[in-house]
Symmetry: C2
Subunit: 426 residues, 2 copies
């Protein structure tokens, strides 16, 4: 694959590379590099020439609830715990029906594709069959990523509360089967969150994580009432995050924890030591009246962070919207505390591309155009704004910023997954 | 005009009316009412039947900078004062060129139309010719609203700093000419903000406001560095807002002031007494690191508020996005202070429809479907989500919320301005 355009990527937090009229070359699924001149062995090969359109890494969503896509932008006048009970759980219960799950997951994957999110860590539901169906659909459509069957055996409505033994058996079955049958979509252990998992369930999951060397995803310190509930349930644990660790659910470099707004000092140390990837979902955190995660403080403390949608706590699928939201909420933190310097657009873009794409739970990194990365790319070139771009002589970075703040799927001209042009899934 | 659909409107803050299978009837430009049965004299008249699509009042943007539309989503990594100098002023200077202004304002009006904003209070630039052109274009396209030539004669770059006498003469010319030649677009006095206007200019503008009974729009208490600058320039004034009042620039019921984040107690009293409409632009206030206006506190204090885009401090034109943003930022205030109860979606929708549409500076109210209101309406029915709406049996209010949070111009099937189907302007 050879793409020509204005190639932009963020090799590290705060650094952005811009190469106009450059060639992005992939060997098979993997990036060889970005070149100002076509390498000798590529001369004569077909080049997809996108003129001065932007070529950027595709987005990776480090935290998204696939079934909840259907509830995006619904029930937002409630806080986390009532919202779960009134909106989220009733919807998730419907995924016991395979036909419903099929329609819902096809719609979800189409929406991800539209938004340019070609890799993800997704929560499914407790239903093994529907979860497997999502994994199969995503694999066949060309996405890469991780999908987890949710585990929950307490504090859940009857129709979603699992038998502990059955929950573990189904989890193990999916871990095995996905390893045998899938290549790009992996399985990730997914205890919903501490309030919904008994110690027995967490202990059993911890054993599976060890046995199969699984990655893990869950939630931590999202909402103050949730934190209080965890303290009630586990009065002897030093903190919410320590509960996961105590049960073997925080494997080093293979753990994603969403939200992390109310971390205590010892939790900050724990997450840094375990190289946990914190999925920061500022839009969701506002929607559910949770708060603003102190992004700059966690970054300065050495915690790895990513910007994620948390659909349907987040109402937008498109990570560009969440990048803009992360910049905005970081500015609101700065208003309250000048030391918490706001995030810039290039910083936040890194947090939605290389930071999550490089999560070690994936078999190959994505989200950058460095050699060895999976070649997942978007071509950004909005015909609707091309005239104004020219009138104003916008720079490539201004065009990128304009896309982040105001663009939508209509501005994405092409999507490449693993070096291949990716068609609409369904 | 007779529209049939699921008619929804917000007659007062926090109250929402939903009438399924109802008829919205207008006599000429004006709403007669919403009826469950077609009134006798309407039987046999053509009905635009939109099935179960939503019919809601069109949006009114109480604060938008028309020239800055071209900079939406550009330069957002800077705060207010440097952003003005590096991005806003250089762009506005180009409106000295009528050909540039023509292209820019056509693009702006197309964008408003797409977003369903059919009425607005807009800042233009200092240029009288380009301002008049915007007024003419907007009138001919079918919008209603107010447009102001910006006045600024200090703290501005050379190419935008006006001669005081000339600035006043051009303002008076536009006030007269618009009254003679336009019907739906009025002129509004538009001192940019206190830092950019000498006392002589403000005094002269105050006289014009009195003579022509003009409405007034400006900015107040947006950013702490701006507030400090005003205190330096007017050390004897009791507050920033009192400067406007002292110069006759706060006529009762005819004044729109944007932002009002950092109001002092006496300013709250002044704005309430003068029935000032506060344009609340939470997205802009985050983008420019200004802060979060305490919406609930100002509402509880009896201040009239509206949700506004403040393009290009705000990066989205669509007021639906700002409605969602106002709800989110009010939730973030609630996290910090439980007494500041968050705004609900119906409350915030009222703030983007009836509250600004009913501003007394307009010749006829809009933004509600009560008798006597100008009949500005949107038909919301997204074919892309219709299948999911049916699958989930979404209620009308859920479909409305879904549009507010996730919809865009593709979800707006039709726009009616003054009882007439409004085509794309250009």
């Amino acid at each position: 694959m050879i793409l020509k355009g204005t190639v932009i990527w963020t090799p590290e937090l705060g650094r952005v590379e811009v190469r106009e009229g450059a060639y992005l070359v992939a060997d098979g699924e993997t990036v060889r590099g970005v070149f100002d001149e076509l390498p000798a062995d590529c001369v004569g090969q077909p080049v997809a020439d996108y003129g001065d359109a932007l070529v950027i890494p595709a987005f990776t969503d480090a935290h998204v609830h696939a079934p909840q896509f259907l509830n995006a932008g619904i029930g937002m006048d409630e806080e986390l715990l009532p919202w779960l009970n009134h909106h989220t759980f009733p919807l998730e219960a419907r995924f016991a029906d395979p036909a419903f799950a099929d329609r819902a997951y096809r719609a979800f994957l189409n929406a991800l594709w539209e938004a340019g999110t070609l890799r993800f860590c997704a929560f499914a539901t407790v239903h093994a069959e529907a979860t497997w169906h999502l994994m199969r659909l995503a694999e066949d459509a060309g996405f890469s990523g991780l999908v987890g069957k949710v585990n929950m055996d307490r504090n859940a409505p009857d129709e979603l509360r699992e038998d502990t033994v059955a929950s573990l058996a189904q989890t193990e079955m999916l871990a095995q089967r996905s390893r045998e049958e899938l290549r790009r979509i992996g399985f990730i252990a997914t205890p919903r969150f501490v309030p919904a998992c008994t110690p027995e369930l967490m202990e059993g999951l911890g054993r599976l994580v060890e046995t199969y060397q699984l990655p893990v995803q869950s939630h931590v310190d999202e909402n103050r009432s949730e934190v209080a509930l965890v303290r009630e349930l586990h009065p002897d644990a030093p903190s919410y995050a320590h509960v996961y660790d105590a049960f073997g659910l925080m494997p080093a470099r293979r753990t994603v924890l969403a939200h992390a707004i109310w971390l205590t000092g010892p939790e900050v140390d724990l997450l840094r030591e375990k190289h946990v990837l914190v999925a920061h979902s500022p839009q969701s955190n506002a929607n559910l009246t949770s708060g603003i995660m102190p992004l700059r403080r966690w970054l300065d403390a050495g915690i790895a962070c990513a910007v994620a949608s948390d659909v349907a706590g987040g109402s937008d699928v498109a990570l560009s919207r969440h990048v803009a939201c992360a910049v905005r909420t970081s500015k609101l933190r700065q208003v309250a505390c000048a030391e918490e310097r706001a995030a810039s657009v290039p910083e936040a873009l890194y947090l939605a591309t290389k930071a999550p794409g490089g999560f070690a739970g994936f078999s190959q990194p994505s989200g950058s155009f460095e050699p060895g990365y999976r070649c997942d790319a978007l071509v950004i070139g909005d015909e609707r704004t091309a005239e104004l771009d020219a009138l104003l002589a916008r720079t490539p970075l201004e065009r990128l910023e304009h896309f982040i703040y105001t663009g939508d799927d209509r501005a994405i001209r092409a999507r490449y997954a693993g070096g291949t042009l990716m068609p609409r899934p369904f």
